[in-house]
């Protein structure tokens, strides 16, 4: 076994896991607090990537673009909440799903009209474009380290926000008792809008961070949103801790499965059989894990307390 490759893939898995967490945390916040199923969350991730790409060209600096793009993503999220989500809170999940499915079509097509069908590559500043050599042939792109650092910092910030701030207290209270929070004199509408905006910023941030690696492209939101769903199902919908652990788990398993499953299969079957079956199984791996988790624990690994 190639330990250098193993190490690099472990870092890639961590990176994917943290990006998934950024997307899934917003999804789980919005669902846990607002009881709203937002399929269009992935479109906010995509828009984050496109806006960041355009701003990088306009401002000439990726980091600057990222800083400007974040509040824009938040505003977009707030807009979606006002126009689509708010009238639908009182409805059932089916209406949420269909309504936000409509939002996906609208936002994806708008992105197509504005940015065209091809993906947009995002150039990095030189200091981020290098590699950090760890000795021998082992080197890590410095940008990936930045993604990992940003992901961990955001996760820490979210835990602090939810557990130790007044906003977090309201968020947790609002989840269990809307009328009580409203009776405290808190503008519940504003609170919900803020939660939505926060979720949009987190998803947008994930899109901005991945754009320099994969390009900003039209379908990108729709492929990550399903994986993010798997994350919050496995973690337990509404649980921040569950989303974090499940995101890292899924990110790691997915990355490792794609690189090493044929080696593992090779231990128990013929090389050709391993080579043909490994891609199919690794493509399904996270869904198989989800099925197993749900078969054993229908509420996910960390179900939030009974509301």
């Amino acid at each position: 076994m190639d330990y250098g490759l193993f190490f690099i893939q472990a870092l890639n898995g961590l990176q994917l896991g943290l990006l998934l967490f950024l997307v899934a945390s917003g999804l789980t916040l919005v669902f846990g607090i607002l009881d709203f199923v937002n399929l269009a969350h992935g479109s906010l991730y995509m828009l984050g990537a496109f806006i960041c790409a355009s701003l990088t060209f306009a401002l000439g600096n990726y980091i600057l673009a990222l800083i400007v793009a974040l509040p824009i993503a938040g505003l977009l999220g707030y807009g979606v909440e006002r126009v689509i989500a708010r009238p639908l809170y009182a409805r059932n999940h089916l209406d949420h799903v269909l309504g936000t499915f409509g939002v996906i079509l609208v936002l994806d097509t708008l992105a197509h009209m504005i940015w065209g069908p091809a993906g947009i590559a995002v150039p990095l500043p030189n200091w981020l474009n290098g590699q950090i050599v760890l000795g021998g042939t082992l080197a890590i792109p410095s940008f990936r380290l930045l993604i990992i650092a940003m992901g961990l910092a955001t996760a820490a910030g979210l835990f602090w926000l939810v557990n130790y701030t007044r906003l977090g207290m309201l968020i947790r209270a609002g989840a269990s008792n809307r009328t009580m929070v409203a009776a405290l004199g808190v503008d519940i509408q504003l609170l919900f809008g803020l939660v939505f905006a926060l979720g949009a910023m987190l998803a947008g941030l994930a899109g901005m961070l991945i754009a320099p690696i994969t390009e900003a492209s039209i379908g990108m939101g729709n492929s990550i949103i399903i994986t993010a769903f798997v994350v919050i199902i496995v973690g337990g919908i509404g649980s921040m801790k569950g989303a974090f652990i499940a995101a890292l788990l899924i990110g790691m398993i997915d990355t490792m499965g794609r690189s090493f499953l044929d080696n593992i299969f090779g231990l128990v079957m013929s090389p050709t059989a391993a080579e043909t079956s490994a891609p199919a199984v690794s493509a399904m791996l996270i869904y198989i894990i989800m099925a197993v988790v749900l078969a054993l624990r229908p509420q996910g690994l960390f179900p939030p307390k009974v509301r």
């Binding site: 269909l98 939002v103 009209m113 493509a283 229908p298």
Partner: protein, 320 residues
Amino acid sequence: MALRHWITLAVLVLLAVMPPVFIWMGNPFYVDLATRLVILGIAATSLNLILGYGGLISFGHAAFVGIGAYAVGIPAYHMLYGGGEAVASFNGMFQIPLAVAVSALFALITGAICLRTKGVYFIMITMAFAQMVYYFFISIEEYGADDGLVIDMRSQLPFIELDEPLQLYFFCYASLIAALLIVRTIANSRFGMVLQGAKGNNERMVTLGYNTYLYKLTAYVISGAMAGYAGALLGNFTTFISPEMMDWSRSGELMFMVILGGAATTLGPLMGSAVFIIIEEVLSNYTIYWHLPFGLMLIAVVLFARGGLMGVIGRGRDGK
């Protein structure tokens, strides 16, 4: 007869009469359109059984359609190009039952897991299972991966020549009538009453002594099998299959058809499919950005047109 009965009759007669007229007028393109409509109508009708009558918000119904289509495509591929002796030996007579059996089996296995969950978990897990099938076929190089697979030979059936557009159409049309009758009969049966009762109030039904899990699972399997059948027809119609058929937006479109037409009504899903085909056809001729007005329409329907078309036409609940 109530208004909706007249509309039902009119729609079904129109669907029987128009395609031959199109051929006679030298407009075979419209026969293709009608065939697609009828096949989507079957798929949407099958979804209506669990979504409309059962209240099960399945967001992965396109997977069954895709599985059905691959069950036609894969044997056909092996018959023509060798390999896969096990499936190649199936002749066309077996392809459609194979499609039904495989999708029913998939529904049984995934349904058994999905139905242990409730609410939003159910929505997401059905969607995730569909995605699993999608990625499964994307990773199989032999069947074209994400490029898909051309079916060079349609299912060979006795008495019917599926290569003949009008015969293919009427085969699909007869299937649609059967699907409508099956779902309607099931919905009004004792089984259907339990299913609808569990949709309205699951706890009450359990308290009465119904093992609602088994009833829902049965409905899920019937629905999946019917969708697989529709998929087999779709494969025969398009003679091309690809994982894209199972993309989750396809599942979303099927849900849209059911809701737009009117969930838990006999004809609603077919009407919804008709509207969908018309929108797609008209708008996509007009602009490549047709998903934009379509998305806006979807939002508008969700926000303002509750009960769907059949709801607008008159209290169209069946059996009353």
